[in-house]
Amino acid sequence: MVGIGNAMLREGEALIHVEDLVVEFPGPRGAVLHAVSDVSFDVRAGETLGIVGESGCGKSTTAKAVIQMPRPTSGQVLYRDSDLTKLDKDALRATRTDLQMIFQDPISALNPRRSIWDIIREGVEIWGTHGEWGDARILELIESVGIDPQYKDRKPFQFSGGQCQRISIARALALDPHVLICDEPVSALDVSVQAQILNLLDDLKKQHDLTMLFISHDLAVVRNVSDRVMVMYLGRVAEVGDADSIFDNPAHPYTQALLAAVPGSDIAADASLSGELPSPLDPPAGCRFNTRCPHASDICRTTVPEFEQFGPDHWVACHHPQATPVELD
């Protein structure tokens, strides 16, 4: 993941176009925490981009930087044609309604003191009710996420985790957004409930023509929902491409290691990860994965690999890719 370069950005219409995104936080004693470094990607309308990686690899930070929460250190985030990083406070506030988010912890995502009716209506309350944005539509929305509208006056603690996630989804959809950012939306839920929420997201995506950024550490979930997948390691992108290429023909040793860790995987076990994730306060030089990579050589320790094309929609940032490139025309 050590990749740099923007070779993987596609020509043509992208709904979200992120270029050279850098997010740094002040660390202890003047150190700098490199949460996200030189990340570029694009998402077309109607697409779902899955972002995978270990905890702390910067996948959530990347997604939050897209909606400027907080604003990134540098780089540009184009949504349609406006650069969100350059919008002033009010313009950003208005534009951001088009990009909504659901969170990992369904409980802390809902204000315990407000009724779910108030919670779901919040967006409409802020921007005003008009025309088809009336209360009838909110009731419809509550029903469409699988919550019985007769419970609308209850408080979040009276619902289960799965139901709270449904309520979060309804809140996010109340303003008719075009983009839904899902930050580990099912990681905190029971497996039986996970499937229900994933089905719900899939249905709603079709109904509302949503474009999604789907963040998860669960590869099975990501494969299920994503059109394209971006693998991140320690703040950089390792490999990006259509889901089938990434899962069936992983080229980056890190992607292979992730896949090898899935039970029942047919990828050799010697590809699996050992060692600790290095600190983002002091990321390794060269390829950031070199400290844990079984194939690392001298060049990996000195030179950041650039993205190279591996298939029609498959890009890898690695000096020693472990798969055979697909023949390109």
């Binding site: 909606i67 802390s108 204000n111 003191r113 802020i126 921007w127 009276q158 289960s160």
Partner: protein, 295 residues
């Protein structure tokens, strides 16, 4: 979506039995406490129209006469009606306690919430001010203010209110820090809520419960503090208060020995009132913390 409507696979705990109503969850003790406080407040408010002896009239009973029907709490060393004194004294003691904690809540609460929400320089200054206030000997500060500005109900309330600012402010700040980090605040911001709306709709409702519990405790502390000032002889110059009454009844050892009731009755009323306020505050915090915050 209907095929996803699977209430049995995704149950709410309370599908079977609805949660106990809030008033039931607060419990018997809470309502007894509230009842006592309301009774005292009611009597204090109605004092002018109740058939009470004039609290300042001497010789209503004999010197240090014990309790008897019609003179329920007995008489003090000048023959004044202790029952009437206690009820009239409640007026000033409760007002002082109430104003003090309102000052603490309004000033300390708003500073604390803003500091916890906006952080940065304002937070630094506010936290430093709280620490300074807390490290200043409380009683000295109260004595200083009342001697400089006057021994009126207003200034005594204000001086005790200033003492309440730091503890209330610290609690408000700490609670705000917790809730400002929660994802529902981020969700509100993404929906377009501005700072004012987030503070009022998202933060305040969550901070107000622990604060009101503290307010009840704080009111009882202020009532006791007024008593302390009275015992030092520097409470309200004119008028009656519980502290002043206890001070007058208890300042001479011989009086205490021959007629302890003149001091014990007001002490008992203060004790029960303070206990009730404490208990009610504790219960309130327990119920809300356990039921809604820990989930």
């Amino acid at each position: 979506m209907t095929e996803l409507w699977l209430p049995s696979a995704d149950p709410t705990a309370e599908d079977e039995k609805p949660p106990l109503a809030l008033w039931r969850r607060l419990g018997f003790g809470f309502w007894v406490s509230v009842g006592w406080v309301l009774l005292v407040i009611g009597l204090a408010l109605l004092a002018p129209i109740l058939p009470l002896e004039d609290p300042n009239a001497t010789g209503v009973g004999g010197r240090l006469e014990g309790p008897r029907p019609g003179l329920w709490f007995g008489a003090d060393s000048t023959g004044r009606d202790v029952f009437s004194l206690t009820i009239w004294g409640a007026r000033i003691s409760l007002v002082v306690g109430f104003i003090a904690i309102v000052v603490g809540l309004l000033v300390g609460g708003s500073i604390g919430i803003l500091a916890g929400y906006f952080r940065g320089l304002f937070d630094g200054v506010a936290s430093f001010a709280f620490a300074t206030l807390l490290s200043f000997p409380a009683l000295i500060l109260a004595i200083l203010i009342t001697t400089l500005l006057g021994r009126t109900v207003f200034w005594i309330s204000i001086s005790l209110g200033i003492l309440a600012i730091a503890p209330v402010g610290r609690l408000a700040r700490a609670q705000t820090l917790v809730f400002a980090e929660k994802e529902f605040v981020m969700a509100a911001r993404i929906l377009g809520a501005d700072d004012r709306r987030i503070l009022i709709r998202e933060i305040l409702p969550n901070v107000v419960v622990p604060m009101s519990a503290l307010a009840l405790l704080g009111m009882s502390i202020a009532i006791v503090a007024e008593g302390t000032l009275a015992f030092l002889g520097i409470s309200v110059a004119d008028g009656l208060s519980w502290g002043k009454q206890i001070f007058e009844a208890g300042s001479r050892a011989t009086d205490l020995q021959t007629g302890p009731h003149a001091a014990l009755f007001p002490i008992g009323v203060v004790f029960l009132t303070v206990l009730s306020l404490n208990f009610a505050g504790d219960r309130l915090r327990e119920v809300f913390d356990a039921k809604e915050l820990s989930l």
